[in-house]
Every structure is written in C-alpha cells, then in structure tokens.
C-alpha cells in the first residue's frame, strides 16, 4: 500500500493530468529533490521557487487570478507565518470584491510533531488557519483520504489549505488507492525517484482512477456508544489505538476523523455526541484559542442537555515550541498514553 507521501504525489499527478493543475511549486518542490518529503517527485508541472514564502503565496494568488490552477507548498508550516497577511488576503479576496474574483488555489504544508523536528519543524497550523475565513482546511490521516482530499482540493473554487501530518507521511495505508498496484515494491519502482542520479529518471505512473473525499465530510473510523472522540492528523491513529486498547476495560469509544477542519461536518459530530453524551477533542496545536475550544463551545451551545459530562480537549501545551529532546517532545504534545488516559477519565466521569 502507498504511503501518504506517495498518495499525495499520485493525487497531484492525477490532478495535473485530469483536473487542470498547472503549477506545483515551492522550495525544492521540483526536480531533482521533489519535495523534502518526496510528495512532488516526478510531477511534470513541479518547479522550484525562490526561498520566499511571501512570494510563494503571492504568486499562487496571482496564478489563480490569471485562471491557472496552482498548488503551492510551504516546506514546513513553521515558515508560513511570515505570509499570514497574504493568506488572509487570499481568503478574503472573493468577499472583499463582492464576488468579483475567486481564488482557486491549494496550499499544502507539513504540520505537527513526530519527526523530532525541534522548535521550527514541529509546529501546528490548524488553530491559526481556522481563524482565516474564506479558506477551506483539510487534514488527512490515511493515504487514501490524502489522495481523495487532494483531488477535491484541486477542484475547489476557493483557497484550500491542505495540512500534511508529517508524522504520517511515510506511514503506509490499509486501503488501496484506486489504480495503485497492490505490491509496495512495484509501486516504489514505478514512482519513487532513485537515490543516486535522477537526471534521466521519469516515473511510470499507475493507471490512477478518480476518487475524491468531499470537503466537509467527517468519517466515523470506529463505531462506539459511550464516548465520542474527535481528532484529525497525527493524533487520529493514536485515538483509534487507544480505543482498541481501552475496549478491554469495557469502554466503547466512537472515533471520528474530522478530515475537514473548515467547513466542518457538524452533523456527524452532533449525531455522535447526542448518542454518547461525552466528547473528547484531540489535536496537538497549542491549547489556548485552540480549534478544539471552538468545537467545545459549539457543543455546549447546542448540545448542553445531551451531555453526560463536560466536553474535554486534549491538545499541545501552550509553550513557545517543541523541544528537540525526546522527553521534551513527549511532554509537549499528546502521546498514546495521554489519549488513553483522557478517554478513560471522560468515559468514567460521574456527576
């Protein structure tokens, strides 16, 4: 099965062949490297930009305004912050021009911890980007969703922020991408660039099929009756694992992969919370003005009388960065034992 990085690459290939994507660009995105996480290797429209995040976002906007279909990459979301007003402008242009100009562009950027990336390769961006209206925000946790969400993003008429959980980029999926060969090695030989000389290399793309995950649709990853756990990205598989382990204790957790942070699938959350009466939101962005806090607020506003316990948020500590030492990273963002403990505590909470 493909890794998430390969899935993104295949989706972009499908998009440049079939969906009119004209430019996949950013720092080290084109040959020879094809992206620091290999997500853009072998793409015919991939090119290297100057090392200039403001330029990258600005040019993506310009391309979009000129009728092109750009997919821009910011190498790590830690470096996107100097482009924040351009992101705000991209999100607001359709509204500010009263519907005159829409800005169909995709920005992809790796986020979060999990590779011992220290202070400037571990930050999250979901809290910040969900505060910029006009953007759609997606974040896959499996290769198949990564493929389907990218295909949807490349067809959207609006700016879409595609957050890549970097801890999961090299993780293989459990579901085949439509058209993907079933053998890992065959796929790798076809689409992974050789490690040495790449000058004459061209990928052999599988016969990829259209598959899209609609923006705005969550996925119930695991059915359960006693507690709802809502997550996305790196922490989603941790929630699934924790739910599996805790099942032996008689706790039956329902796990929802949000997949789209905005506009999010409130109907799916609402139905689950009404069923369980308990909800835990899990992500790894810093906890003050965290996106999960908004979800808690809405849960209280709309579902207060269906609740059996206070809604909870498990998030990253509100500290300036994630330290390099293993002990520091583990203490800064939710890990499996933290998730398990949080589910257990909320499931057993009595008034």
């Amino acid at each position: 099965m493909a890794s998430m990085a390969q899935a993104i690459r295949m989706a972009l290939h499908y998009a440049e062949e079939n969906l009119g994507v004209t430019d996949v660009f950013g720092e080290d995105v084109g040959p020879p490297l094809g992206g620091v996480f290999t997500t853009t290797q072998g793409l015919k429209t991939a090119w290297n930009s100057p090392l200039d995040e403001r330029g990258i976002i600005g040019v993506a906007m310009g391309l979009a305004l000129a009728g092109q279909r750009p997919v821009a990459e910011i190498q790590f979301c830690d470096y996107i912050f100097n482009a924040i007003d351009l992101l705000k402008l991209a999100g607001g242009t359709y509204w500010a021009s009263n519907g005159d100009w829409n800005v169909p562009m995709v920005v992809k950027t790796p986020v979060g911890s999990g590779i011992r990336g220290s202070i400037y390769h571990s930050q999250s961006f979901d809290g910040t980007i969900t505060r910029l209206p006009g953007w759609k925000v997606v974040m896959p946790s499996t290769p198949l969703d990564a493929y389907g969400l990218m295909i949807s993003a490349c067809q959207d008429l609006n700016p879409v922020m595609y957050l890549e959980p970097k801890a999961l980029l090299r993780v293989r999926g459990e579901e085949l991408i439509p058209g993907e060969p079933s053998d890992d090695r065959t796929l790798s030989k076809m689409i992974d660039a050789p490690l040495n000389d790449r000058s004459g290399w061209v990928p052999k793309w599988p016969d990829l099929q259209p598959y899209s995950v609609p923006i705005g649709k969550a996925k119930i990853v695991r059915q359960g009756n006693q507690i709802t756990v809502v997550s996305y990205g790196r922490t989603l598989p941790l929630c699934v694992k924790a739910a599996g382990a805790i099942r032996e204790e008689g706790i039956d957790a329902e796990i929802i992969d949000l997949r789209t942070l905005y506009p999010y699938d409130w109907e799916a959350l609402k139905a689950s919370i009404q069923k369980t009466g308990r909800v835990l939101y899990v992500n790894e962005d810093t906890e003050i003005t965290n996106f999960g806090e908004h979800l808690i607020r809405r849960t209280i506003d709309e579902l207060f009388y269906a609740l059996l316990a206070p809604p909870q948020l498990l998030a990253g500590k509100s500290i300036p960065g994630i330290g390099l030492a293993d002990s520091l990273e583990m203490a800064s963002v939710p890990q499996l034992p933290d998730v398990t403990a949080a589910i257990r505590a909320l499931a057993s909470e009595e008034p």
Binding site: M61, A64, G99
Partner: protein
C-alpha cells in the same frame, strides 16, 4: 526633475507649425488634459463627500494624474491572459478613468452603497476591482500586490502574446519585503517575466519623509542589481510619462522581460482624510503646469481649461447627488461571497 516642464513661452509661429512641433498628437494632449481634470474633479468630490459625512474615509491619487492618465491610455484593456493584468494600489482613479471607467462607481464606493461595483459597500474609496478588465482587487496593505503580480506574469509568459502584468505602489511600500520578492521573482535567469513594476514616488509614507528612509539614490536603482531595465522619470509631466510608459511597455510586451519604472509625483491632498486631505500648496500641481505648457504651445487656452473644470465639477456634483439616495448594503449581505460555488 519635478519641474521639468518648459516654462510658458509666447507663441509666434503659425498654428500649423506649432502642431508639427508638438511631442504628441494634439488630440491626445487635449484628451490627457481632459482626463486629468476629470480625475482631479472626482478626487476633490470624494474629499468633499467625506467632509459632508457621505463617506467614512478618503484615500486617492490627486497629484498623480500626469502619470496615471497616460498609464490608463496605454493599457491593453480586457479580460484574460491576452490582456494586461493590473495590480494597483489605492491611488489609481485617474488610470481607471483613462481606461474608460464610469466615475460613478468611485462615488458609490465612497458612499459605501450596495451599488458600489467594486466591493458592494465593503471597502474604502479607491479600492477598485474590475474582473472584465483584469483589475485585481485593490487592498489596503501597501505591498501585497508586489508579491501577487509575478503570478499573473508567469501565466502570461507561458501563454505568449503581448499581454503584460502591471503593478503599482508607492515609495514607502518598497521598504516591505514584497517589493524585493517582486524583483527576485521577475528576474529569475531564464524565467524573466513580462511585468512592468511601477513605483509612484511621492516622497512620503504618511508623515515619514522618504529622505529619512531610502538609502538608495533612486528607487529604480534597485532594479539594476537584478539586471532589470530601470528608469526614474518625471511623473508630473504627462508628455514625458506617456513617452516613457510607452517605451517601457513596448519593451515588456516585446521582450517579455521586466521593467522597473519609478515616477516622481506629487501628493496634493496628503496621505488620506486621516491627515486632513487639505491641498498642499508647495508641491508641483501637474494640471497647473500642464495647462501652462498647453497654453504656451498654443494647443488650447484658459477658456477651455475653465470650461473643462466647470463641466467636470458639475458632473461630479450631480453624480454625488444621485449616489446619496442609493441604498446601503443589507445587514444579511455580510454572508454573501465567502465561498465561490460551482454554478
């Protein structure tokens, strides 16, 4: 440089000989004057609307007409890659009028009516957006257009033809990193872009003098480091501006390479209404100097100037009266146009 217009001289030659000596076609000289006066009348009306409480804030480009009118006349106007993409800042009304835009749109935006064609009452005066002419939405940050413009120019380079990208901004905005981004992205070896990068240098950033900020002799000198053809011109002289813009545009259209043009202009009513929007008497008024020159050259005369001024003042006053009774946007319209949807 700012006073480069010739001093008025008595006319002794017969009219036919005078016309032959003119640097531009006589009709064009008169047309430029007409548009300059029309633009000034529009901006002065907008300021008056602000003073009368018919608008919350004024910002615009009075004092830049001698440069902005020729710019508008030379633009290849239309929608899509075959035409010029325009990334303007908020001092560009004269360019829009020269392109043929109806001035009532600017008045509607000043009055923030629902009929405002550029933003539906959402944005300040001077914040144009005209998709049918590739005028991308003007925004208040003074630098972001310099980052966006290379994007449309990349698309045009790939497309071919003679459509170019034109970006304008002020001298103060060149201190932002986006201006450097524009120079870098426009001049990548082998990927030079068809982009005319304009800096309208009025020597001010609100209250901060350019002389206390800019270490470079000319802002256009910064282009030289990137092998970008560059020039500083007298933007208060419409004849010089027309000739220099035409030459720069011809180069960008033909060679598909960037050009950095710095125009020295005046700021005749200050930065915005926040600084009072009062007439600044000690800067060159390009209309006054152009009129002296037109008279000296025998192109036209004071009676014509007075007639034009009266006509446009009257027309703007009438348009302002018309706009005054138009409805404001409805409160629930705040939810319109957050996301574009497939039709």
């Amino acid at each position: 440089m700012k006073n480069a217009l010739e001093a008025p001289r008595p006319i002794r030659k017969p009219q036919s000989e005078v016309a032959a000596a003119l640097p531009l076609d006589r009709d064009l000289l008169i047309r430029m004057h007409d548009l300059m006066v029309q633009s000034r009348a529009l901006e002065e009306r907008l300021i008056q609307m602000y003073r009368q409480g018919h608008g919350f804030f004024w910002i615009g480009g009075p004092g830049e007409e001698a440069f902005n009118v020729p710019l508008g006349l030379l633009i290849k106007k239309g929608e899509g890659l075959d035409y010029d993409y325009l990334h303007f800042h908020y001092r560009q009304s004269a360019t829009l009028l020269a392109m043929g835009e109806d001035p009532i749109g600017a008045l509607r935006q000043m009055k923030n009516t629902a009929t405002d064609p550029y933003s539906g009452g959402r944005n300040f005066a001077g914040h144009f957006s005209i998709k049918r002419w590739n005028v991308v939405p003007v925004s208040s940050p003074i630098e972001v257009q310099y980052s966006m413009a290379p994007g449309t120019a990349i698309a045009q380079k790939r497309h071919g033809g003679d459509g170019i990208t034109i970006v304008t901004g002020g001298d103060a905005g060149t201190a932002e990193g986006d201006f450097a981004s524009c120079l870098v992205w426009s001049s990548r070896p082998g990927n030079e872009l068809p982009i005319l990068i304009i800096v309208a240098n009025n020597q001010w950033g609100i209250s901060t003098a350019a002389s206390t900020v800019q270490g470079c002799t000319n802002i256009s000198d910064r282009g030289k480091a990137f092998n970008i053809r560059s020039k500083t011109i007298d933007g208060n002289n419409p004849v010089v501006a027309y000739q220099e813009l035409r030459e720069a545009m011809d180069y960008v259209r033909r060679e598909r390479k960037p050009f950095l043009l710095e125009a020295l202009v005046s700021r005749l009513y200050g930065h915005s209404s926040a600084s009072g929007a009062n007439f600044v008497p000690d800067e060159v008024d390009c209309i006054a100097t152009y009129e002296q020159w037109l008279e000296a050259k025998g192109v036209t005369n004071r009676a014509h100037f007075n007639e034009m001024r009266a006509r446009w003042n009257q027309e703007m006053a009438e348009l302002a009266r018309k706009v005054r009774d138009e409805p404001q946007p409805t409160p629930d319209s705040i939810w319109n146009f957050i996301y574009a949807e497939k039709k």
